[in-house]
Assembly symmetry: C2
Homo-oligomer: 379 residues x 2
């Protein structure tokens, strides 16, 4: 494991965590459970520390990672979870007022065990999930229950919290899962006072790329780095394609007329149409317009799309304004550049902006409060 592995896509971190659980590895998971002041990462940020002090992920920008690694050894040895708070506020000219190197940050360190497995399995399967974990108070630190939007806490495996507590945290955790956010809540009840970390974990959005040209590879590679689950759909000559797109989660062969039936399409699935074949792209577009996907990026000039629309009209196929508004063509954000990686970069930038419901612009031009990632926690 190289130093550089500390920065990995979130999906890679989750994969490694699953592997650590499956192989019963000696490893510690560190999770930011509370932040006061500005911070590089927010509550929910995770870091995996192996027994040999290697690992993956980053919970600050390198300010506390060394200390976390040392502490992880103690946790491994003791076999007990531990909550540590670092107070980096103050006027210290060297360490103060940085980003990620100031404020008060609280981290839960715990042995990697199968209590997280149901949550990780759900996320890998495309389901958002919530995890409620005791981080202080009258119940043992590390006790947890897993919450699924469909099932609540009821049928989830690994339930370890008493009903009086899950009843109290279910509503706020549902909201956090919806927003993909995490925070620590203090619950005061007859039965006791408990601090519970409520972790809303969002499943990666799906990206389906239609095409198998040389220009598809960079789109797959970049989308994977920013945590899309990527499927490549090739229309013909699909031999050995998995090899051609090694980063893709899945490579499938299909007919453009069967796109709607290819898989389940939902409002967290994004489609990029870049087969470079007019007829294939047109069939694909027509099929996608009848699905609930919120984004259809179409490679090519605007005229090409207009020509497709004229053919739909001629064939008597009608689409509503709402349906057509989801088509983005020319595809991508206007970042300039015309090399394959630069074109791919602008496509994936557009995917991120749409998936995160942002208006693409300079953050420095955005009025009002600063960016989420450096917002002041009210915790």
């Amino acid at each position: 494991m190289t130093e550089n592995d500390w920065s990995v896509p979130e999906t890679d971190l989750f994969d490694r965590l699953r592997t650590a659980i499956e192989t019963d590895a000696d490893a510690v998971l560190a999770t930011v459970v509370a932040v006061e002041g500005s911070a590089y990462r927010r509550p929910g940020a995770k870091m995996l520390v192996d027994a040999d002090r290697g690992g993956a992920g980053s919970i600050t920008a390198g300010c506390l990672e060394d200390e976390v690694r040392l502490l992880a050894e103690d946790v491994l040895e003791a076999g007990e979870p531990h909550v540590e708070t670092w107070d980096l506020t103050g006027d210290d000219e060297i360490w103060g007022r940085g980003v990620g190197c100031n404020g008060v940050i609280t981290v839960l360190l715990e042995l990697v065990d199968d209590t997280l497995a149901p949550a990780l399995d759900a996320v890998a399967g495309g389901t958002d999930v919530g995890v409620a974990t005791v981080v202080g108070g009258d119940l043992p630190t590390g006790d947890r229950s897993v919450y699924r939007p469909d099932d609540g806490f009821g049928d989830a495996e690994g339930t370890g919290l008493p009903d009086w507590l899950t009843d109290r945290v279910e509503a706020p955790l549902a909201d956090l899962v919806e927003d993909g956010k995490s925070e620590t809540l203090t619950v005061e009840a007859e039965e006791g006072t408990v601090e519970v970390f409520l972790d809303g974990i969002t499943a990666p959005p799906d990206l389906v790329v239609f095409g198998s040209g040389h220009d598809v590879g960079p789109v797959v590679e970049l989308a994977k780095l920013v945590d899309f689950r990527v499927t490549v759909v090739a229309f013909r000559g699909a031999q050995a394609l998995q090899e051609r797109f090694p980063q893709a989660d899945e490579v499938v062969s299909a007919s453009p007329r069967d796109v709607a039936d290819l898989r389940e399409w939902d409002d967290d699935t994004y489609a990029v149409v870049m087969s470079h074949n007019f007829v294939d792209d047109r069939f694909t577009l027509a099929e996608l317009l009848d699905t609930p996907v919120p984004y259809i990026g179409l490679m090519g000039p605007r005229d090409r799309f207009e020509e497709m629309r004229e053919e739909f009209d001629e064939e008597g196929v009608e689409f509503s304004r709402d349906q057509l508004d989801r088509v983005h063509t020319p595809i991508g954000l206007d970042l300039g550049g015309d090399a394959p990686y630069q074109i791919a970069y602008s496509i994936v930038a557009e995917l991120l902006a749409v998936a995160n419901d942002r208006t693409p612009r300079h953050l420095s031009d955005r009025a009002g409060p600063i960016h989420d990632r450096v917002s002041l926690s009210t915790e």
Copy 2:
């Protein structure tokens, strides 16, 4: 060489081309010299084909690559350059009206030899360069001269074109180099009629990243993929840092007070300040404001920058509005996401937009003519 190598960053392609020249490899360079109709790549796009039919780069999106590879074998065998035109227009439902699979595309195939070396060396050294190459008419195909903005054709090595021709193409080539564009020009003179491909090749812009935290790696990696030349500046603990940022072109150690003297700063150099240390970042910012860099991205919330400005004021250090307008903080485009790769993605997206002088927005929202990369050539 895997299939996937066909899509490589432009800088990688140029590196491979230089290596092929230096090792006297049997290889063919294919360059798009003219395009009519919509196309995925523009004139100037290059593809390197090795003797074993491996190679790098992509001149369409996979529509013609196989044919180019076959033709490259003939060129290798014959030892002579060759110009081929593919006419993919027409109403053919299968191949017509695609992007990159239609229009008329003309490609120069030539043996890789040292006539391109001076141009590649100049670009690697940070200098924009122009190459004038005969692609038809009364002079031998493949004859070329290299043009440098400072020297003209005068002192350049590899000069192969007669003065009457270089005199005629110098002005248009100078414009193309300035714009980073390429096109084929027909020159009619007493001495003869010649078609000359004028290739404006832009040196990669420089990115200097100040910081050595875990969050720097993803910025370096993504910036390299979109063809920045990346230098990482670490302020302390700079041991083994090259290893930590394997993709960086250079990793150096410096003091924040010596930033201005660290290197030559010009208007094609972009700076990202992310040391996460307030004092280091403030010194760096003050130094950078006195250089001509067009972009200074500063990690952290807006308040942090305001605090730096107050300290400048208290110290009696004044900066003009023009100087301060180059500071982008919070850094990055508003794409959402808060994982390290997502933050890095928004930073590099902002770098691209600024370097290419674009207003970040959806291309589908851009009024007027379609994107450059799919514009109709007037050739």
